[in-house]
Symmetry: C2
Subunit: 361 residues, 2 copies
Amino acid sequence: MTETRDDVDRQAALEPLALQCPVPLPPGETILLGHGSGGRLTHELIRDVLVPALGANPELSRLGDAAVIPLPGGESLAFTIDGFVVQPPFFPDTDIGELAVNGTVNDLAMMGAEPLALSAALILEEGLPIERLRAAVASMASACERAGVALVTGDTKVVERGAADGLYITTSGIGLIPNGVEVGPDRCRPGDRILVTGPVASHGIAVMSRRAGVSFEGDIRSDTASLTGVVRAMLAAGDVHCLRDATRGGLASVLNELAEASDVSMTVTEADIPVLPAVRAACEMLGLDPLYVANEGVAVAIVAAEDADAVLAAARSEAVGAQAALIGGVGEPPMSVRLRSGLGTTRPLMMLSGDQLPRIC
Amino acid sequence: MTETRDDVDRQAALEPLALQCPVPLPPGETILLGHGSGGRLTHELIRDVLVPALGANPELSRLGDAAVIPLPGGESLAFTIDGFVVQPPFFPDTDIGELAVNGTVNDLAMMGAEPLALSAALILEEGLPIERLRAAVASMASACERAGVALVTGDTKVVERGAADGLYITTSGIGLIPNGVEVGPDRCRPGDRILVTGPVASHGIAVMSRRAGVSFEGDIRSDTASLTGVVRAMLAAGDVHCLRDATRGGLASVLNELAEASDVSMTVTEADIPVLPAVRAACEMLGLDPLYVANEGVAVAIVAAEDADAVLAAARSEAVGAQAALIGGVGEPPMSVRLRSGLGTTRPLMMLSGDQLPRIC
C-alpha cells in the first residue's frame, strides 16, 4: 500500500519533465533524463547497454565506485572518473568545481584509497564569462587543498553556444589503497551492520531550492565534503566490508545496489536515519522522500557487527561524521531492502525509478 | 579579499539570464570557440587563467600531455585526461569512441608510458538513440583491444535536449613509465633532430569533408590510431628527448609549444613534411595550411642527432610509422620556429591563432 503511494509520488515528481517532451519516444530506444538519475534506469543502462558493449572485463563488471589496478610494486591503485553537469553550476555555498573535486575524492575514499592525484577535463560553452571559469577553477583548487590532493593535468574543450550549458567538469582520480584494505560492493555479509556517516538529503534539497528559487526556513546547504578523513578513521577502527557514497539515487538506491552486488537482504529503521530538521520539512513540503534525494558528502558503510560501535565512534570523531548513525543490518539472501517504520511494520525500499531531479551533480 | 571577490563572482554567476544576454561581452572576457582550438588562445587560457587559478603546482605547470606521478614502489605513473566533443560524432571510418580511446592512449604514449587502464565519463543528451551510444561504446571496446588496454570504470550523466550535442566522451588513462624513460616538452636540446611519425592533416580534412558534405578525390580517412607501438619501437632504438602528438593546432602549434617549453629555436623543411597527395589537394582547395590541421595518430619526436637514423628506421618498422620522416632540427635560443621553403628561404611558423575548425576531436 505504502509502496503504491511512493510510486505515485515519484510519478508526480516526473510530471514537469514529461511536459518538456511533447512526443513521448518509445521507452528503451532513446536516452531519457532518468538514465542519468543514478536509479533503476541508470543501473539498467550500465548493465544492459554499456557493460555488454564493452565486452568481458572483470574489473568493469564489479561496478565499484572506482576500479582497482594492481601495480608491479605490489600496491593497488584505485582509479575513478565522474562527470559533473550540475544545474545551476553555482550556489551561494558551493559550486560545480568543489563538487567535481569532492565527488572524485570520495569515489577513491569508497575503495579505502588515499587520493594521489586528480585530473580535470572542462567542456565550456562559447560565451561563458571567463570570470565564472576562474571562480569554478579556484573552487577546485581550494577543494583539492582541503582534500590533500593536487590537480596535476587537464584538458579544455569549447563547444558552440547551445551545445552545452555553461560548463561541465569531468574529474578523474587515482589513489593508493593501503595494504590490507579490501572493501567492495560485493562484500556485505549477513549479520553486518549498516552505518551512514551523516544526515541525508541535504545536497539534493539545496540544489532544488536554488533551482526553483524557493527558500526554506533554516539554512539548507549542500553537504559536499571530502570523506577521506572519516573513511580513514573508520577503517582504522574496525572491519569495514563495504563503502559507498550515497550520491544520485540517494540512500535507498545505494542500499539496493549493495544488496544486489552482495546478494543479501537489508533492513533499515526509518527513525534511525538522520535527516536535518529543515531538510525534512522541505522534503515534506515538496513531497519528496529523503531516502531518494542525492548527497555529496554522505557514505554508507557496511561493518562487521562486532566492530560496529567502534567504527561508529571513529566516524563521529571526525567533523563530517559527527552525526553518523547505525541504521540497520544485513540479513540472509534473497536480495531485498526493507524499511522498518515507526509502527514496527516493514515495507520494501526500491531503487529510484525515473529521475527525481535531473542534473543534481 | 579574494573571498569577497569570489562571492561577488558567484553572485554574478547566479544570474540565470546572464548567459543568454544578447549584448555581446567585450572580447577576452568570455570563452570563444578559439579557446578550444589547441592554438594560441587555448595556450593563453591555460597559462593566464587555469594555471594561476589552480595555484602553484609544479606537475601541472609542466603542461605535458600527461602528468608524471611517482609511486611508492619506485615506478612512475603517467596520468592524463581528454574530453571529446567531435562534431559529427560518427564518420564512415571512425567515431568519437575510437578517437576518445586513441587520444588518451596516445597522451600516455607521449610520456613513454605503456597504458595500464582507461576510464570514461559520458555526457549524453536526452533523446540520443541508444543504438548510437551502443555503437560508440563498441568502438571504444575495439580501440581498447587494439591498444592492449582495458576500460575499467566509467560514469554516465544525462542532460536535457539542447544542453549537449548528442554525446561527449571524456577518457582518462593511467600508464606505467618504464625505468630510464624520461621524455618531456622541456627536454629539446640544440642539435636534436625533429621527426614526425606519419603524414599530417588527414584527420582534420576527414572531419571537415564529412561536416561540409564535401567529397574529395581519393580516400581521405582520419589517421586515428594508437601510437603506443611506434613509441615503444622508437624509445628502444635511441635517445628520444621529447614526444608530442600533433592534435589540435596541428604540427605548427606543437612545434611552437615544444620550442617554448625548452626555450630553443627549431627549423623544419617544408618539402620533408609528409602530407598525403589527396589531403594536400583538399587543403589547397580549401585554402588551409596542412601544418595547422589536426591529427589523431601522428607524433612529433625530438631525437638526439646521433640516434636520429636509428629512431627513424624503428618508427618505419611499425605500420603506423611507415611514412615517418626527419623534418628538421633544433637550434640555440631564443625560442622560434621557422619553415624553410623549397626556394631555401625561411619564414616564421607561428602557433595557430583563432580556430581553424572547431570540435575536431
